[in-house]
Symmetry: C2
Subunit: 166 residues, 2 copies
Protein backbone atom coordinates (compact mmCIF):
# COMPACT_ATOMS: atom_id res chain seq x y z
CA UNK A 1 0.00 0.00 0.00
CA UNK A 2 1.47 3.31 -1.12
CA UNK A 3 1.37 6.25 1.27
CA UNK A 4 -0.04 9.11 -0.85
CA UNK A 5 1.41 11.83 1.39
CA UNK A 6 4.78 12.19 -0.40
CA UNK A 7 2.88 12.43 -3.71
CA UNK A 8 0.74 15.22 -2.26
CA UNK A 9 3.96 17.02 -1.36
CA UNK A 10 5.26 16.42 -4.91
CA UNK A 11 2.02 17.96 -6.21
CA UNK A 12 2.57 21.06 -4.09
CA UNK A 13 6.08 21.29 -5.51
CA UNK A 14 4.61 21.04 -9.02
CA UNK A 15 2.39 24.01 -8.15
CA UNK A 16 5.51 25.97 -7.16
CA UNK A 17 7.01 25.15 -10.55
CA UNK A 18 3.87 26.41 -12.28
CA UNK A 19 4.05 29.74 -10.42
CA UNK A 20 7.53 30.15 -11.87
CA UNK A 21 6.34 29.46 -15.41
CA UNK A 22 7.93 26.00 -15.40
CA UNK A 23 6.22 22.82 -16.61
CA UNK A 24 4.61 21.66 -13.33
CA UNK A 25 6.34 18.47 -12.22
CA UNK A 26 7.41 17.81 -8.64
CA UNK A 27 9.53 15.09 -7.03
CA UNK A 28 10.29 13.89 -3.51
CA UNK A 29 12.82 11.37 -2.18
CA UNK A 30 11.78 9.57 0.99
CA UNK A 31 13.82 7.29 3.25
CA UNK A 32 11.94 5.60 6.06
CA UNK A 33 9.76 8.31 7.56
CA UNK A 34 11.97 11.18 6.35
CA UNK A 35 11.78 13.36 3.27
CA UNK A 36 15.44 13.62 2.24
CA UNK A 37 15.00 15.71 -0.92
CA UNK A 38 12.34 17.69 -2.72
CA UNK A 39 12.53 19.47 -6.05
CA UNK A 40 10.56 20.75 -8.98
CA UNK A 41 11.28 21.28 -12.63
CA UNK A 42 13.57 24.29 -13.09
CA UNK A 43 14.68 23.96 -16.69
CA UNK A 44 13.88 27.54 -17.70
CA UNK A 45 14.96 29.16 -14.45
CA UNK A 46 18.32 27.36 -14.23
CA UNK A 47 18.79 27.36 -18.03
CA UNK A 48 19.71 23.71 -17.59
CA UNK A 49 18.43 21.05 -20.03
CA UNK A 50 18.82 18.43 -17.29
CA UNK A 51 16.93 20.30 -14.53
CA UNK A 52 13.90 17.98 -14.39
CA UNK A 53 12.29 17.59 -10.96
CA UNK A 54 13.41 14.02 -10.29
CA UNK A 55 16.94 14.56 -11.64
CA UNK A 56 17.41 17.43 -9.19
CA UNK A 57 15.78 15.43 -6.37
CA UNK A 58 18.22 12.53 -6.90
CA UNK A 59 21.18 14.94 -6.87
CA UNK A 60 19.93 16.57 -3.66
CA UNK A 61 19.23 13.19 -2.02
CA UNK A 62 22.82 12.09 -2.70
CA UNK A 63 24.07 15.31 -1.17
CA UNK A 64 21.78 14.93 1.87
CA UNK A 65 22.73 11.30 2.54
CA UNK A 66 26.42 11.57 1.65
CA UNK A 67 26.27 8.82 -0.98
CA UNK A 68 25.13 8.43 -4.57
CA UNK A 69 23.69 5.01 -3.69
CA UNK A 70 20.10 5.66 -2.70
CA UNK A 71 19.38 1.96 -1.99
CA UNK A 72 16.78 2.40 0.69
CA UNK A 73 15.00 5.40 -0.80
CA UNK A 74 11.73 5.83 -2.65
CA UNK A 75 11.36 8.47 -5.36
CA UNK A 76 7.92 9.99 -5.85
CA UNK A 77 7.34 12.05 -9.00
CA UNK A 78 4.12 13.47 -10.41
CA UNK A 79 4.84 12.49 -14.03
CA UNK A 80 6.24 9.32 -15.62
CA UNK A 81 10.01 9.94 -15.83
CA UNK A 82 11.51 10.66 -19.27
CA UNK A 83 14.40 8.62 -20.68
CA UNK A 84 17.03 10.79 -18.98
CA UNK A 85 15.32 10.56 -15.61
CA UNK A 86 14.57 6.84 -15.94
CA UNK A 87 18.28 6.33 -16.59
CA UNK A 88 19.13 8.47 -13.55
CA UNK A 89 16.75 6.39 -11.41
CA UNK A 90 18.53 3.17 -12.42
CA UNK A 91 21.95 4.76 -11.74
CA UNK A 92 20.83 5.96 -8.30
CA UNK A 93 19.77 2.45 -7.19
CA UNK A 94 16.59 3.78 -5.55
CA UNK A 95 14.58 0.94 -4.08
CA UNK A 96 11.26 2.13 -5.40
CA UNK A 97 9.84 4.53 -7.97
CA UNK A 98 6.30 5.89 -7.55
CA UNK A 99 4.81 8.11 -10.22
CA UNK A 100 1.51 9.76 -11.01
CA UNK A 101 0.43 10.63 -14.55
CA UNK A 102 1.61 8.83 -17.67
CA UNK A 103 3.64 10.72 -20.29
CA UNK A 104 2.66 9.08 -23.60
CA UNK A 105 4.98 11.29 -25.67
CA UNK A 106 8.22 11.04 -23.72
CA UNK A 107 7.86 8.56 -20.84
CA UNK A 108 10.78 6.21 -20.34
CA UNK A 109 9.15 3.82 -17.85
CA UNK A 110 6.17 2.41 -19.75
CA UNK A 111 5.26 4.71 -22.65
CA UNK A 112 8.23 4.83 -25.06
CA UNK A 113 10.66 2.64 -23.11
CA UNK A 114 10.74 0.42 -20.05
CA UNK A 115 14.18 1.55 -18.88
CA UNK A 116 13.48 0.91 -15.19
CA UNK A 117 12.62 -2.75 -15.76
CA UNK A 118 15.39 -3.55 -18.26
CA UNK A 119 17.14 -6.72 -17.02
CA UNK A 120 20.32 -5.78 -18.90
CA UNK A 121 20.89 -2.78 -16.64
CA UNK A 122 22.41 -3.31 -13.21
CA UNK A 123 19.45 -2.21 -11.12
CA UNK A 124 15.67 -2.45 -11.27
CA UNK A 125 13.59 -0.50 -8.77
CA UNK A 126 10.12 -1.60 -7.77
CA UNK A 127 7.63 0.55 -9.66
CA UNK A 128 4.17 1.81 -8.72
CA UNK A 129 2.44 3.92 -11.36
CA UNK A 130 -0.79 5.92 -11.34
CA UNK A 131 -0.68 7.28 -7.77
CA UNK A 132 -2.86 10.43 -7.65
CA UNK A 133 -2.64 10.28 -11.44
CA UNK A 134 -5.69 12.50 -12.01
CA UNK A 135 -4.40 15.38 -9.89
CA UNK A 136 -0.89 14.99 -11.32
CA UNK A 137 -2.22 15.10 -14.87
CA UNK A 138 -4.70 17.91 -14.22
CA UNK A 139 -2.06 20.44 -13.18
CA UNK A 140 -0.08 19.70 -16.37
CA UNK A 141 -3.20 19.98 -18.50
CA UNK A 142 -4.11 23.36 -17.02
CA UNK A 143 -0.54 24.62 -17.49
CA UNK A 144 -0.44 23.74 -21.19
CA UNK A 145 -3.99 25.01 -21.75
CA UNK A 146 -3.11 28.38 -20.22
CA UNK A 147 0.01 28.52 -22.38
CA UNK A 148 -1.95 27.85 -25.56
CA UNK A 149 -4.53 30.48 -24.66
CA UNK A 150 -2.16 33.28 -23.79
CA UNK A 151 -2.26 36.19 -26.28
CA UNK A 152 0.32 36.13 -29.04
CA UNK A 153 2.99 38.73 -28.35
CA UNK A 154 2.07 41.94 -30.15
CA UNK A 155 4.53 43.05 -32.77
CA UNK A 156 4.31 46.79 -33.14
CA UNK A 157 4.96 48.59 -36.43
CA UNK A 158 5.96 52.29 -36.51
CA UNK A 159 2.32 53.44 -36.68
CA UNK A 160 1.09 51.42 -33.75
CA UNK A 161 4.16 52.34 -31.79
CA UNK A 162 3.35 56.00 -32.41
CA UNK A 163 -0.18 55.42 -31.17
CA UNK A 164 0.98 53.80 -27.99
CA UNK A 165 3.68 56.29 -27.16
CA UNK A 166 1.40 59.17 -28.08
Amino acid sequence: MIDPEPMRLALRLAEEAMKMGEVPVGAVVVRGASVVAQAYNLRETLEDPTAHAERIALTLAGRALGTWRLDDCTLYVTLEPCVMCAGAIVLSRVKKLVYGAIDPKAGGCESLYRIVSDTRLNHRPEVEAGVLADECGAILKSFFQARRNRPKSVILGPFEEGCLSG
Copy 2:
Protein backbone atom coordinates in the same frame (compact mmCIF):
# COMPACT_ATOMS: atom_id res chain seq x y z
CA MET B 1 35.67 15.69 -40.88
CA ILE B 2 35.78 15.76 -37.09
CA ASP B 3 38.30 18.00 -35.35
CA PRO B 4 39.96 15.67 -32.81
CA GLU B 5 41.16 18.53 -30.59
CA PRO B 6 38.05 18.74 -28.35
CA MET B 7 38.28 14.96 -27.87
CA ARG B 8 41.91 15.33 -26.80
CA LEU B 9 40.74 17.88 -24.24
CA ALA B 10 38.02 15.45 -23.10
CA LEU B 11 40.74 12.80 -22.68
CA ARG B 12 42.77 15.14 -20.48
CA LEU B 13 39.63 15.73 -18.41
CA ALA B 14 39.20 11.95 -18.10
CA GLU B 15 42.75 11.81 -16.71
CA GLU B 16 41.78 14.39 -14.10
CA ALA B 17 38.84 12.18 -13.12
CA MET B 18 41.16 9.19 -12.75
CA LYS B 19 43.48 11.13 -10.43
CA MET B 20 40.47 11.68 -8.20
CA GLY B 21 39.58 8.00 -8.16
CA GLU B 22 36.62 8.55 -10.48
CA VAL B 23 35.81 6.40 -13.52
CA PRO B 24 37.77 8.31 -16.20
CA VAL B 25 35.28 9.88 -18.59
CA GLY B 26 35.59 13.45 -19.86
CA ALA B 27 33.25 15.71 -21.84
CA VAL B 28 33.48 19.02 -23.67
CA VAL B 29 30.81 21.24 -25.24
CA VAL B 30 31.96 23.30 -28.23
CA ARG B 31 30.18 26.09 -30.06
CA GLY B 32 31.88 27.41 -33.17
CA ALA B 33 35.54 27.81 -32.20
CA SER B 34 34.83 28.11 -28.46
CA VAL B 35 34.81 25.55 -25.69
CA VAL B 36 31.75 26.54 -23.66
CA ALA B 37 31.86 23.77 -21.03
CA GLN B 38 34.17 21.02 -19.84
CA ALA B 39 33.58 18.41 -17.18
CA TYR B 40 34.55 14.98 -15.95
CA ASN B 41 32.81 12.26 -14.05
CA LEU B 42 32.40 13.26 -10.39
CA ARG B 43 29.94 10.72 -9.08
CA GLU B 44 31.96 9.73 -6.02
CA THR B 45 33.26 13.19 -5.23
CA LEU B 46 29.90 14.94 -5.49
CA GLU B 47 28.00 11.93 -4.08
CA ASP B 48 25.60 12.48 -6.98
CA PRO B 49 24.25 9.53 -9.00
CA THR B 50 23.74 11.88 -11.95
CA ALA B 51 27.23 13.43 -12.00
CA HIS B 52 28.40 11.85 -15.25
CA ALA B 53 30.84 13.92 -17.33
CA GLU B 54 28.44 14.78 -20.15
CA ARG B 55 25.49 15.47 -17.83
CA ILE B 56 27.56 18.03 -15.96
CA ALA B 57 28.93 19.47 -19.23
CA LEU B 58 25.38 20.02 -20.56
CA THR B 59 24.38 21.73 -17.31
CA LEU B 60 27.44 23.98 -17.45
CA ALA B 61 26.93 24.78 -21.13
CA GLY B 62 23.38 25.93 -20.42
CA ARG B 63 24.67 28.14 -17.63
CA ALA B 64 27.45 29.55 -19.85
CA LEU B 65 25.15 30.32 -22.78
CA GLY B 66 22.12 31.44 -20.77
CA THR B 67 19.79 28.91 -22.37
CA TRP B 68 19.01 25.22 -22.03
CA ARG B 69 18.70 24.97 -25.82
CA LEU B 70 22.17 24.06 -27.03
CA ASP B 71 21.11 24.00 -30.73
CA ASP B 72 24.40 25.03 -32.25
CA CYS B 73 26.67 23.08 -29.92
CA THR B 74 28.63 19.85 -30.30
CA LEU B 75 29.15 17.55 -27.31
CA TYR B 76 32.36 15.49 -27.24
CA VAL B 77 32.55 12.66 -24.71
CA THR B 78 35.16 9.93 -24.35
CA LEU B 79 32.63 7.10 -23.76
CA GLU B 80 29.33 6.20 -25.40
CA PRO B 81 26.69 7.99 -23.27
CA CYS B 82 24.53 5.87 -20.96
CA VAL B 83 20.73 5.96 -21.09
CA MET B 84 20.52 8.93 -18.71
CA CYS B 85 23.07 10.94 -20.67
CA ALA B 86 21.62 9.97 -24.06
CA GLY B 87 18.27 11.26 -22.78
CA ALA B 88 19.92 14.47 -21.57
CA ILE B 89 21.55 14.94 -25.00
CA VAL B 90 18.16 14.72 -26.71
CA LEU B 91 16.65 17.16 -24.18
CA SER B 92 19.50 19.65 -24.70
CA ARG B 93 18.96 19.80 -28.49
CA VAL B 94 22.72 19.67 -29.16
CA LYS B 95 23.40 19.70 -32.89
CA LYS B 96 25.99 16.97 -32.78
CA LEU B 97 27.25 14.23 -30.48
CA VAL B 98 30.80 12.90 -30.89
CA TYR B 99 31.98 10.03 -28.73
CA GLY B 100 35.01 7.80 -28.41
CA ALA B 101 34.86 4.29 -26.96
CA ILE B 102 31.79 2.06 -27.05
CA ASP B 103 30.13 0.99 -23.79
CA PRO B 104 28.71 -2.47 -24.52
CA LYS B 105 27.23 -2.90 -21.02
CA ALA B 106 25.42 0.40 -20.56
CA GLY B 107 25.61 2.49 -23.74
CA GLY B 108 22.39 4.24 -24.74
CA CYS B 109 23.42 5.35 -28.25
CA GLU B 110 24.20 2.08 -30.04
CA SER B 111 24.89 -0.68 -27.51
CA LEU B 112 21.71 -1.22 -25.45
CA TYR B 113 19.55 1.50 -26.97
CA ARG B 114 19.60 4.00 -29.81
CA ILE B 115 18.02 6.84 -27.83
CA VAL B 116 19.73 9.62 -29.82
CA SER B 117 18.29 8.40 -33.13
CA ASP B 118 14.77 7.60 -31.90
CA THR B 119 12.34 9.30 -34.30
CA ARG B 120 9.62 9.39 -31.61
CA LEU B 121 11.63 11.85 -29.53
CA ASN B 122 11.59 15.53 -30.45
CA HIS B 123 15.26 15.89 -31.38
CA ARG B 124 17.94 13.83 -33.05
CA PRO B 125 21.52 15.06 -33.02
CA GLU B 126 24.01 14.07 -35.70
CA VAL B 127 26.23 11.34 -34.25
CA GLU B 128 29.88 10.49 -34.88
CA ALA B 129 31.21 7.51 -32.94
CA GLY B 130 34.68 6.05 -32.53
CA VAL B 131 36.72 9.27 -32.44
CA LEU B 132 40.03 8.51 -30.66
CA ALA B 133 38.27 5.35 -29.49
CA ASP B 134 41.49 3.48 -28.66
CA GLU B 135 42.82 6.20 -26.33
CA CYS B 136 39.37 6.72 -24.80
CA GLY B 137 39.00 3.00 -24.12
CA ALA B 138 42.61 2.52 -22.91
CA ILE B 139 42.28 4.94 -20.00
CA LEU B 140 39.12 3.16 -18.83
CA LYS B 141 40.77 -0.22 -19.17
CA SER B 142 43.77 0.83 -17.11
CA PHE B 143 41.51 2.34 -14.43
CA PHE B 144 39.50 -0.85 -13.99
CA GLN B 145 42.61 -3.05 -14.16
CA ALA B 146 44.27 -1.03 -11.39
CA ARG B 147 41.09 -1.29 -9.33
CA ARG B 148 40.95 -5.07 -9.72
CA ASN B 149 44.62 -5.43 -8.79
CA ARG B 150 44.57 -3.30 -5.69
CA PRO B 151 45.06 -5.31 -2.49
CA LYS B 152 41.90 -6.41 -0.74
CA SER B 153 41.41 -4.41 2.42
CA VAL B 154 42.88 -6.38 5.30
CA ILE B 155 40.38 -7.41 7.94
CA LEU B 156 42.23 -7.75 11.19
CA GLY B 157 41.20 -10.14 13.92
CA PRO B 158 42.29 -9.60 17.53
CA PHE B 159 45.45 -11.68 17.08
CA GLU B 160 46.67 -9.94 13.93
CA GLU B 161 45.79 -6.61 15.42
CA GLY B 162 47.99 -7.49 18.41
CA CYS B 163 50.81 -8.42 16.06
CA LEU B 164 50.64 -5.20 14.14
CA SER B 165 50.33 -2.91 17.10
CA GLY B 166 53.13 -4.78 18.86
